[in-house]
């Protein structure tokens, strides 16, 4: 009889929300991998029905405390499409600035507090801080600059309230934005130190032939707009998402699994963005990336921590550029009337594309809403990563293997709360 084993993590730490993991093995074969998501479903799409289109960005921002701007931005994009609103370039770049703030907050928190301890063998960031206080202080400083950006442009740090359909409620002055510049420049230099530190980390080996999916903009690194593309031939307007991607329910998860209809699981997030948009990074950042061994096509998901560092540096440079070029528009928002229609929104949340579709009626009430968050899109891919990693390391001691599996899950910085609009780890030898 073959020896069977189960590796289990009942309750995953250092992720957002509630989930776990089970990996079952029989002999040298992995027989089952489950990313268990038991965060209660949150029914946002259902309770958006009947609400005014104006309320939607404030309601969707409540889906996540880490990436509220992604939800606000995608829903606003959809509403503005329906209403035929085109915001002026300064308002659009101000929104991009706030979105950079969210990338900074989210990436800095994940890289230093949640993921770096895995690479260095520490139980948590507090243990890490005992041996690497300067790096942890740097991480906290970088995160703070993101918070300050969101606070100023968004009105508050968590669930910001200043962005609305048509523009903003209140526009910051040039002087207010300029007050952030000194710290942003220090943080930009700090993020280069952070990349140098992350480049010293030992990367576990794993390479997979992913289908990477990300936005692609005609000239910019993708944050707030673009077409949806993949390295396996997808190149569509965001309104065509439902023709190429499908969501289904699996028993062990309160979050839906999303797949490419023709090919199956796919990968969204920093690795996908980087691989599909390397040429959209400034040349100086491309060179820095190459100098630490990063260039497309990077297929090792563990290197996502380093790519977050690259995106962090980009976010600082982009923020500085936007602030230096900012001229306060005369009007904070475009005055408009409600009208019926269907609209689509898709932006790059820190964890990957966040796709929305809304149908609104003549009086501006929401008739239907559909939200596809990044973590639900990555769930199948996370399970595939675990299956391959455990298969390739089946003789690794159980504790080490469990550790590496948790680390592999955190490559995706999964936001369980979002996906249920989901983590615990469970290994079984069966």
């Amino acid at each position: 009889m073959k020896q069977t084993k189960t590796l289990k993590v009942d309750y995953l730490a250092r992720v957002e929300g509630e989930g776990g993991m089970t990996v079952k093995m029989s002999g040298d074969k992995v027989t089952e991998v489950r990313l268990n998501i038991f965060e209660p479903p949150r029914f946002f799409e259902a309770f958006l029905k009947g609400r005014s289109y104006k309320e939607v960005p404030d309601i969707t921002s409540r889906i996540c405390g880490i990436c509220p701007i992604a939800y606000q931005s995608s829903s606003i994009q959809a509403m503005e499409q329906i209403l035929g609103i085109e915001v002026n370039e300064q308002v659009r770049t101000l929104r991009r600035l706030m979105y950079c703030g969210e990338w900074i907050e989210s990436h800095a928190l994940h890289m230093f507090m949640l993921h770096a301890p895995d690479f260095l063998g520490y139980q948590d960031a507090i243990e890490l801080a005992k041996d690497h206080p300067d790096e942890v202080k740097l991480g906290l400083f970088l995160k703070k600059t993101g918070n300050d950006l969101v606070n100023l442009v968004g009105g508050r740090e968590i669930h910001p309230i200043n962005m609305r359909v048509g523009g903003f409620y209140k526009l910051p002055t040039k002087a207010e934005l300029n007050s952030l510049l000194d710290n942003l420049k220090k943080a930009r230099d700090g993020s280069i130190k952070a990349i140098e530190f992350l480049a010293t980390l030992e990367m576990p080996s794993l390479e997979r032939d992913y289908e990477f999916v990300a936005l692609r903009h005609e000239s910019e690194y993708p944050i707030d707009s673009g077409r949806i593309i993949s390295n396996k031939g997808i190149d569509i307007d965001i309104s065509q998402f439902e023709s190429h991607f499908t969501e289904s329910h699996v028993e062990h998860s309160t979050s839906l699994h999303s797949k490419v209809i023709e090919r199956g699981n796919y990968h969204v997030g920093p690795l996908a963005r980087f691989n599909l948009n390397f040429d959209r990074l400034p040349l100086s950042i491309q060179s820095l990336a190459k100098s630490v061994g990063l260039e497309p096509e990077c297929k090792n998901p563990f290197k996502s921590i380093l790519i977050r560092g690259i995106e962090l540096l980009y976010s600082f440079e982009e923020s500085i550029r936007i602030i230096e070029q900012y001229e306060r528009p005369d009007e904070a928002y475009v005055v408009h009337e409600p009208k019926a229609g269907v609209g689509y929104g898709c932006t790059e949340a820190p964890r990957g594309i966040c796709w929305h579709r809304y149908e609104i009626t003549d009086d501006g009430s929401v008739a239907t809403a559909r939200i596809v968050p990044p973590t639900s899109q990555n769930q199948g891919t996370i399970e595939d990563d675990l299956r391959q990693f455990v298969s390739e390391n089946i003789n690794m001691p159980e504790d080490d293997l469990t550790w590496r599996c948790e680390q592999a899950i955190r490559n995706y910085d999964p936001c369980i709360s979002c996906s249920c609009h989901y983590l615990k780890l469970k290994f079984e030898q069966v």
Partner: protein, 140 residues
């Protein structure tokens, strides 16, 4: 600390608002929703800090826990938020490790009974709220 729309979870915020009514210029009052990393920024530069939050430890509703951060480790399961990766307890322990803990820091935890949607406190928590307000005013 707390969510004002989650019944007993709002007790920390309600205490802060009551204390703000006293308009004592000697202390600053800040309402905060959760993120521990931001919390470390908020107390930066202050020598004497009091954090007030609801807890769910399984004890009697209304129980008051008073922890001196300078004298004891704060149990991470105590002030925990399932949807926040970096909790209040972790912020305190991180600050202790980095040598940035304020000279005096007291954490008040009030055992909550009802954390569902709503804006009303349960009676045991409301009573404890008054006790803590009086204790804090006397201590300042």
């Amino acid at each position: 600390m707390g969510n004002q729309f989650r019944s007993d979870d709002s007790v920390g915020v309600l205490i802060a608002r009551e204390l703000a009514n006293n308009k004592d210029p000697n202390y600053d009052i800040v309402e905060h929703q959760g993120d521990g990393a931001t919390l470390m920024d908020l107390w930066s530069g202050f020598d004497n800090v009091i954090i007030i939050d609801a807890v769910s430890s399984g004890s009697e509703p209304g129980n008051i826990f008073r922890l001196d951060a300078n004298e004891q480790k704060i149990p991470t399961e105590f002030f925990n938020y399932s949807t926040h990766a970096f909790s209040v307890a972790e912020a305190v322990e991180m600050a202790r490790t980095l040598g940035t803990l304020p000279k005096q820091m007291i954490l008040y935890g009030i055992e909550g009974q009802n954390f569902s949607n709503g804006t009303e406190l349960t009676e045991p928590v409301r009573q404890s709220m008054q006790t803590i307000i009086e204790e804090i005013i006397l201590s300042l």
